[in-house]
């Protein structure tokens, strides 16, 4: 078991957003998390990455036997958690290259890997850019500055390729991408899939899952996973929407006297 989430509850500004999430992810798997707006999908991604304005009130999260919730965001990243941001920030004055170098160096130190020479680093940058078909010029440019929405998303996938995480959480990486960009991003992610790593894809659309075929699809509603299935569940949702699941959920809740 790579990731194990048990009965996870979390608040933001005193309001409960996650209300008992249970999820298990093994190495080599791709999980898709779908669900209507406001169901808690991005909150789950934020809590896993360690965003500080979320307060975990109950439950546990384990990554390869280590307690993730005890770790700072940077420690989680070094242990192998990667969050591809829904809205990557622009940081004027921080160069793309310096940023990547610093990140890679701190991660490699943590993983007891030798530091890369300047030459090795540049070679790796070039190779990974090719792998994920990210042509944007990085040298002498500030982090994400002047990038289009699509380029920012593709830069996230490029960073993912550079940092080689165990568990990648992609928070609506497909939103705002045109068809061509979606195909390129998906193909990049498919190339990065291995038996050693796992992906959690948060998405609104079945379209992404045509390119990256998930092993499991989960539906998040009202802070809980209300239904899990295989890739066919995504197709069913595409066809029927979420209303039938909401009704089912509220019906069960009524039965259970909640």
């Amino acid at each position: 078991m790579m990731l194990s989430i048990k009965n996870l509850h979390a608040n933001i500004e005193g309001k409960e957003i996650l209300k008992g999430i249970n999820l298990e992810v093994n190495a080599g798997e791709v999980h898709a998390i779908m669900g209507p707006n406001g169901s808690g999908k991005s909150s789950l991604a934020s809590v896993l990455a360690g965003r500080e304005n979320y307060e975990v009130t109950e439950g546990e999260v384990w990554l390869d036997g280590k307690n993730l919730l005890d770790m700072k965001p940077e420690e989680r990243a070094r242990e192998g958690v990667f969050l591809a941001f829904q809205y990557p920030v622009e940081i004027p004055g921080v160069s793309n290259i310096n940023f990547l170098k610093t990140a890679l160096s701190e991660i490699r130190t943590h993983r007891n890997l030798p530091q890369l020479s300047a030459k090795e680093f540049l070679k790796m940058t070039r190779e990974k850019q090719e792998l994920v078909e990210f042509e944007a010029k990085l040298a002498n440019r500030s982090l994400n500055q002047g990038f289009s929405g699509g380029e920012k998303k593709r830069n996230e996938v490029f960073q993912l390729a550079m940092l080689e995480p165990k568990l990648s959480i992609l928070d609506e990486t497909d939103s705002g991408l045109d068809i061509d960009a979606l195909r390129i991003v998906s193909s990049g992610i498919n190339k990065l899939r291995s038996t050693e790593n796992a992906f959690v894809l948060i998405t609104h659309y079945q379209r992404l899952l045509e390119y990256i075929v998930p092993d499991f699809v989960h539906v998040l509603y009202n802070g809980q996973i209300v239904k899990s299935g295989n890739k066919d569940l995504a197709l069913e949702l595409e066809e029927k929407g979420y209303d039938w699941l909401k009704e089912e959920f509220h019906g069960n809740a009524a039965l259970n006297g909640q």
Partner: protein, 448 residues
Amino acid sequence: MDNKMKKLSKSPLYQQLVDAYNQRNSDGNATQEREQAFTAFVEKGFPSNRDEDWKFTNLAPFLADEYSFDLQQPAAAVLENAVQHARIPGLESYVLVLVNGKINGSLSILPDASCFKLKQLSEVSDLNYFNTYKSEHVGAGNRMLALNTALFNEGYLLEVPDSVIWDKPLHIIQFFAGEQNLFIQNRNVLVMGRFAGLEVIESVISLQNGHKLFVNNVTQVRVAEQASLIQYQIQHNQAEDRLVNFLEVVQEKISRYDHFSFNLPGAELIRNNLEIVLNGSATETHLMGLYLVGDHQLTDNHTAIHHLFPNCDSNEIYKGVLLGKGKAVFNGKVFVERPAQKTNAFQQNNNLLLSDKAQVFAKPQLEIFADDVKCSHGCTVGQFDPESLFYLRSRGIGEDSARKLLVEAFMFDVTQRITNEPVKEYVQSLIYEKMENSFADTNTSVYG
């Protein structure tokens, strides 16, 4: 004597200064300039918070200490050691060493004699000095300047002759040493001849061994037609140091002047007045400032640029990082007079507060009387963007490194303009060192 006068005369330093002037001019031969300046000081005393230009910088606590005017010559070994310590690693430069305003020839390293003229200011008669270097245009009403004018005695007069371009920068290291708390007022003059070129780095260092040092310094710079001067002012001082600095620069046509002011912890008080007079057309001026202000520090930068002729460009960027209970003042005046058409004047002041106890008082002040000009100013006060910090940390970058990256990014507009690499590295390393110490002190209280 009205009430104000009574209050002023209670300050022992005020009386000491009045006595010093009277003693100095017992023969009654003082020049008109000295007399006028002295009268201005006697009548109004030290600046106070009632003066618009000193509203946020209260000198009173710094003037309340007992000061002496008695100088001391440090031992040769002490000086030699101090010079070594003051040099900038990796910087190939000439060196001009001054001790209490007196040129120390044996510790200085200067180029061929044809490249410069150097004098002690005390060797120049008052009459001669005031006739040549009048400062009537600016600073009227600045009583610290008036006080200096009344009483200055020593300093350097450096002239770079026409068409001489120095092959290496000049590092001017000024040492101050007294028997006890020292109050000293020097005046320096730097003259760039036509087509001349020079890069100067200035350091002021106290050898006061824990005694307080109050420097009320005035420097006059003249940049002749087509000349170019780059001036780096590095203020990296001790807590006991109080630095009041008045720098007047007059630029003639097609000249270029670049000023970099680096105010680092920890002098208790830094007040820099920078007055730039653009006395000809087609000049270029860059004023760049970085102030890092720590606990128990007050750093005040007052700048004024006077556009008097057409087609001049001025560009000013001051960036401040405030830590602990640091307090900073920025006042940037730009005057564009009626004849100064086609002026480009740009000003920017940004402040990054890394503590909720730090304070910034920022005031851009543009007065434009010409109609065909491009002028802009921007002023911000902010904190670290939490989203940027989280983004960096989510990539495995530790909190301290992430903060360092963001501060580096914040200062980038200024640091990218430092063309002298060793100076750039030196200043950046000092900034990071000071910041790390401060983070170590405040980690729990400010960020916890």
